[in-house]
C-alpha cells in the first residue's frame, strides 16, 4: 500500500504548469488537424458553390419576364421562354405526388403502427432496395407499363415513373417519423380508452406531421430534378401542355435537349431552365426545413 502511494505522483505528466504553449507536440497536432479539417470542408463545399455560381452566371442573363411567359422557341428562332416547361414540370411532379403520397404515407403508417416484426422487416428491406434502383429503370418500367399500354408518351407516364421513385422515400420517412413518437404517448392514448385507430389518427399522426411533411417535400425536390425517367415517358414538346395524356415539355428534359444543340438561343434557355430548376429545388428544400421546425419530437 505504501509503495503505491509513493509512486502516485502527478509530476510524471508533462505540462505541469498549466500554461498554454504552442510548442508541445499535442497542441501542434491539434492545431494542424483543425486547419486540415477546415480546408477539407472548404473543398467539399466548393462544387456546390461553383455549380450554383455557374448556373446563376450562365442562366442569369435570360432571367426576365419573357422567360416565365414566353413559349419555347423552335430551333433557330430568337427570344421565347420556358413557361410551358415550368408548367409541365409542375404537372408531372404533381401527378407523381398525387400517386406516391397517399400510398407512401399509408404504407408508412402500416409499417410503423400495425405491422408485426417479421413482415415489417421484409417490407422495409424491399423499400430500401427500391430506393436504390437507378432512376432510369423506373423510367423503363413506366415505359413498359404505361406508355406501351396507352400507346402514347404522356405526362401521366412521367408522373408514374417519378411516383415510383418517390414512393420508397415517402414510405421510409413516414415510417421513421412515426417511430420518433414515443411509445409512452401511444400508451397514454390507449390508457384513456382510445382505440388503436383513434390513437394513430388523432395523436401519433399529428405529432409526426411536421417530420412527414419534411420527408415528402424532400422527395418532391428529388423527383423534380430527375431527367432519365422522363426522357422516354413524357418525351418532350415545345407547346403548351393541354392534358396529361400527351407528351409535354419539362424543365429537366428541356435542359437535356437544349444544352448541346448548336443554337445559341436554345443554349441560353437551357441555362436559364437549369437556374429555375435549381431555384425550384432550393425553394422546396427551404419549405421542408420550415416544416421540420414544426415537428414535436
Amino acid at each position: 500500500m505504501t509503495s503505491t502511494k509513493q509512486n502516485w505522483r502527478s509530476d510524471e505528466f508533462d505540462d505541469d504548469d498549466m500554461e498554454r504553449s504552442y510548442s508541445t507536440q499535442r497542441t501542434a497536432i491539434d492545431l494542424g488537424l483543425t486547419i486540415l479539417a477546415f480546408i477539407l470542408l472548404g473543398v467539399a463545399l466548393l462544387p456546390l458553390g461553383l455549380v450554383i455560381a455557374f448556373v446563376i452566371i450562365r442562366g442569369g442573363s435570360r432571367l426576365n419576364f419573357d422567360l416565365f411567359t414566353g413559349q419555347i422557341p423552335a430551333a433557330g428562332l430568337e427570344g421565347g421562354g420556358i413557361a410551358p416547361a415550368i408548367i409541365g414540370t409542375l404537372m408531372v411532379v404533381g401527378i407523381a405526388a398525387a400517386i406516391s403520397i397517399p400510398f407512401g404515407v399509408l404504407a408508412g403508417i402500416y409499417l410503423s403502427e400495425f405491422s408485426s416484426g417479421k413482415i415489417a422487416r421484409w417490407i422495409r428491406f424491399f423499400t430500401n432496395v427500391l430506393s436504390g434502383v437507378p432512376s432510369i429503370i423506373m423510367g423503363l418500367f413506366a415505359y413498359g407499363v404505361v406508355v406501351l399500354t396507352t400507346n402514347t408518351f404522356s405526362a401521366f407516364a412521367g408522373g408514374f415513373a417519378l411516383a415510383i421513385l418517390m414512393l420508397p422515400i415517402v414510405v421510409r420517412t413516414t415510417d421513421e417519423s412515426l417511430q420518433l413518437v414515443p411509445p409512452q404517448v401511444r400508451w397514454a392514448s390507449t390508457g384513456v380508452g382510445a382505440s388503436n385507430f383513434q390513437t394513430v389518427l388523432k395523436i401519433v399522426l399529428p405529432a409526426a406531421l411536421g417530420a412527414i411533411l419534411t420527408g415528402v417535400t424532400l422527395a418532391i425536390a428529388r423527383a423534380a430534378g430527375e431527367t432519365a425517367p422522363l426522357i422516354f415517358t413524357v418525351l418532350f414538346s415545345q407547346f403548351w401542355p393541354t392534358g396529361i395524356w400527351q407528351p409535354i415539355p419539362t424543365l429537366s428534359v428541356l435542359v437535356y435537349n437544349f444544352a448541346a444543340v448548336p443554337y445559341e438561343n436554345q443554349q441560353e434557355l437551357a441555362w436559364a431552365a437549369s437556374l429555375i430548376l435549381v431555384l425550384l429545388i432550393l425553394l422546396t428544400s427551404i419549405s421542408a426545413r420550415i416544416a421540420a421546425r414544426k415537428s414535436i419530437y
Binding site: 409512452q184 390508457g191 380508452g193 395523436i203
Partner: protein, 278 residues
Amino acid sequence: MPTHRKQQEEARDQHSVVDESEAVLRTENVKVTYGDTLALRDVSMDVPKNQVTALIGPSGCGKSTLLRCFNRLNDLIDGCKVEGKVFYRDKNLYSSKIDPVSVRRRIGMVFQKPNPFPKSIYDNITYGAKVNGFKGDMDELVEQSLQRAALWGEVKDKLKENGLSLSGGQQQRLCIARAIALKPEVVLMDEPCSSLDPVSTERVEDLIHELKEDYTIVIVTHNMHQATRVSDFTAFFNAEESDDGSRFGYLVEYDRTERVFEDPQEEATQKYVSGKFG
C-alpha cells in the same frame, strides 16, 4: 423450492386482509409471461375501494407488470400473455366478452414519465372524453379536472398552450387530470413521481391523499418512504431467478401498510423494508 411454495400459500391466505365486499379489483392466480419468459406468477390479492394500495419491491419483481394487468395495457406489449383471473367488481377483465377499450375508461392510468399528448392543455383533457363519447360540457370538465389535479390555478390562463411546455411536475399533474377527467373508479399509477423533483413529488403525493376520497388508487413505487406516506395497504413483491437465469416476481406479503413496515411476517419483507437489499 419448498420455501417458495410456502410463501405462495401464505400470500394466498392474505386475501383476508381486505374485506371481500370492499374489494374493487381482485386477482386470482395471475401469471404473466413475455414470450417464453415468466415475469410474474401466482398473484392473488384484493384491492380495497377508496384506499391507496402500494406495490413495492425490487426491480424485475413484476409490480408494474401486475399494474398493467388491471387495465389490460399489457395487451399492447408484444408476446405478453396473462393467465389467471383479474376481476373488476364481478367481471373478469380477461374474459373474451370484455372490451379492453371500455375497461380503460373506468380504470385510468398515470405513467412513470409524464406523457402528455403533444396537444394543447385543453385538448389533453378533452381527448379522452371525446373518444369515449362524452356529452357534457367540455369547458366545465376541463376546469373541474384541472382543479382536482391542483393544476387549474397555474394553467387557467394558458389552456391553449401545448401540454409539453409545462414543467415535469405540472405535466404529471396534467396526466392525472387527464385520467380523472374520464371519471374512472380506479386510478393506476406506475411510479408517478420517479422523474419528479422533491417539491413536485410532494404535490403529487398530497394529491393522491385527496383523490383517495373518490377513487381507488393502486400505485407502484420504488420509494419505500413514499409507500408509507401515501398508502393504506402495501403488497411486497420479490424477484427470484429461475433456472434459465431470467428473473420472475411473486407476491411475498400483502397487508396494511403499517403492518408491512413495522411488523412484517416474512423475512424477505423484513430485509427489504429495513433497507438491507433492493
